[in-house]
Symmetry: C2
Subunit: 293 residues, 2 copies
């Protein structure tokens, strides 16, 4: 069994990005600039945004954090999005989700210029990804593709089972894994209503668990030699931790790992790759790789 080290892979990629950024700047090019909008004081969001700022610094990106209290109106937030859209210095930006209930997340996402939508959530990026055109691919599925690629795990023609059909992981993951240019795999998407979920998992060469249920995938659902990618990150109480909780994946790691050829741990697997993929998207935005502005 080989552990897929997302932390190390992410560090390698960030070093590669930093090198490329310094080359760009040395040649007189523009340093990529990522902006982030953070509304309110949600603990998880604060952590994510702080980590994104740190990642920007590690990559040599310029970065701007715009903070608002959670009583901001949708109108004012949309004005801020419009300002960032038209700010030529900003190459890409994100609006950290979730937003307060009185603001429509979908409206805000669709207000972002898709050419700066480095989260890849705008319908144009979602649609272009689906039909195989160059675009920003959202961080989690992109990070998983990158792990599979860097660990040289064969996917073409393999049976890949995806657990979960969320808009940010399950669905895009399925679309990417089935495309010739990415996974080229035989893809099955299972979810809460699937009558044959266990059967599907047992026949899978690759399982990507993104169902949001701690330790959902058990050893008796995984065939010998399978590759298991764990996207779950549920906080479960843990008195031995200073924070009072630990992160638990969707995989019963202790019992599943011995059966696997490759497996990602939680934490330290998919998690560290996601912010790193946001950095890759920002680099692409800076280079105007997918879209000219």
């Amino acid at each position: 069994m080989l552990l897929i080290d997302g932390k190390q892979t992410a560090a390698t990629i960030k070093a590669e990005i930093k090198k490329e950024v310094e080359d760009i700047v040395a040649r007189g090019g523009k340093r990529p600039h990522l902006a982030a909008i953070l509304v309110g004081h949600d603990g998880g969001s604060e952590t994510y945004v702080r980590n994104k700022v740190l990642a920007c610094e590690a990559c040599g990106f310029q970065n701007t954090l715009l903070r608002f209290e959670d009583d901001i109106t949708e109108e004012v937030l949309l004005e801020c999005v419009a300002r960032l859209n038209s700010d030529d210095d900003v190459d890409g930006f994100i609006v950290q989700l979730p937003l307060p209930k009185h603001i429509s997340e979908q409206k805000v996402i669709e207000a972002i210029d898709y050419r700066k939508d480095v989260d890849g959530f705008h319908p144009i990026n979602v649609g272009r990804m689906s039909i195989g055109l160059p675009c920003y691919i959202s961080a989690t599925p992109k990070g998983i593709l990158e792990l599979l690629r860097r660990y040289e795990i064969p996917t073409s023609g393999k049976k890949c089972v995806i657990l979960g059909r969320s808009n940010i992981v399950g669905k895009p993951m399925a679309q990417l894994m089935m495309q010739k240019q990415y996974g080229d795999a035989t893809v099955t998407v299972c979810h809460s209503r699937s009558a044959t979920l266990k059967e599907e998992c047992l026949r899978a060469d690759i399982i990507i668990a993104a169902i949001g249920q701690p330790a959902f995938l058990k050893a008796d659902m995984v065939k010998e030699g399978a590759v298991v990618i764990d996207v779950g990150t549920t906080r479960v109480p843990d008195a031995t931790k200073k924070s009072g909780f630990r992160l638990q994946g969707d995989v019963d790691f202790e019992h599943v790992a011995p059966r696997c050829s490759y497996i990602t741990p939680v934490p330290g697997g998919v998690g560290p790759m996601t912010i790193c993929m946001l950095m890759l998207n920002t680099l692409a935005a800076g280079k105007q790789l997918y879209y000219k502005r």
Copy 2:
């Protein structure tokens, strides 16, 4: 075994549309208006467009056909698209594909105002469909959903195997069949590179064949009682026909049909539904159901 009659279903739907249109007009509303751009003289395209015009008439739609020779420049075609975008009287329009090689189909598709894109090919419609938002769904997958619904075929939790991963059938079909609000099924997409295609088919409750290979799906690949939807329409030589050819589906109908609970014939199954779904999308455009203009 029950034959799914696409021709009859399409006729029923067109009658329903016609009734709704007459109600709208009687209440002083606007008669929906579909425009079609046809470039060149491809035999298949001529037939499709003629059938679309006839369907418009059957539904009581206003319709406009714009014809160009195949030496039209991309620029002139894009100007025509822009004119239709800004023509308030036109509710929806299509550009019949394929286009001559010197014109970028993708560029033309993306030039269409997504609010008038009744073919559902614009990335915004593709993306919105993927994430489950209201939008124009392209005709073939929409037609298949409609057949399943009208024949009250249960799909929730069932194993649905889709053969083929094209942008116009396989991919959107997969995205729709996995969503709670449409198929809610366990979806597997198989294609030319799938190592376990036969195994997947044998375990499927529903098979949607869109692989473009005549009589690809054989009786020994289908379990007893399965539902089989045949999207294939390959012209194969047939001396007994006046035209010299007949349409052959992706299913070896003669041998597969006896094993099925439901099956679509070719012709007369999915085919007649597609133009009918374009009519439903045009009605939706006329009513500004998904997008305000």
